[in-house]
């Protein structure tokens, strides 16, 4: 059973890495933040699945902290971290 959890964790990790690849195409600040926000949802799922696979009871608390941090990150970005002279995001398909 733990093989199932660990392979799911590897797949989730791969989707996060793919999403982070978005940053290397040098989008605007908001788009880079979107890649970071992947940790708010995909990262939480990764921690949960990994914790179940490895039998770590603390994983639930770690996931809870990740979720909280993602919320704070987004709000802080909009209030403080988004420079006014940031170029408009690209609209390329």
């Amino acid at each position: 059973m733990s093989v199932l959890y660990l392979s799911a964790a590897v797949a989730l990790l791969l989707t996060i890495v793919l999403g982070l690849g978005h940053v290397f195409r040098q989008p605007g600040r908001a788009d880079s933040l979107l890649a970071a926000l992947l940790f708010g949802s995909t990262g939480v799922a990764l921690v949960l699945v990994l914790g179940q696979g490895l039998g770590l009871a603390r994983a639930l608390d770690i996931a809870l902290v990740f979720a909280l941090l993602a919320a704070v990150l987004g709000v802080a970005f909009v209030l403080r971290g988004w420079p006014d002279d940031d170029p408009k995001e690209d609209s390329k398909p």
């Binding site: 797949a11 949802s41 995909t42």
Partner: protein
Amino acid sequence: MIALDVLTGVLLAAALFFFVSGTVGLLRFPDLYSRLHALTKADNVGLGFTVLALMLQAERGSEMFKLGLIWVLVLAASATVCFLIGNEAYRRGQKPWTSPPHDSRRRQEALPSALNAPSHVGGYDETKARRLT
């Protein structure tokens, strides 16, 4: 027990599907608004399936409760963050992507003329954007 394990596997597979579609949306969608939508909706459904799968394996009620709490927290957080980023981008005058003109022309030719929508429907409303600022 076996039935529960199989159900867990199925739910995890469904979760992976939604996570992958969320990431593909983030990579492929044309503008910030649609990428925001892919990230904050598809991924939350995926997380919901993950939480359900792990709830089936939880031994204590408190674990189930905490898992549910995590999902609700992530839902609330990403809805808030999605609104804040989208609203701020709109306030800054970032135009939503609309389909290229040659596509819409082809679509209009295919339809009977009575069905043709006015071209401004669904488009970027300059006056509305200014009113929001």
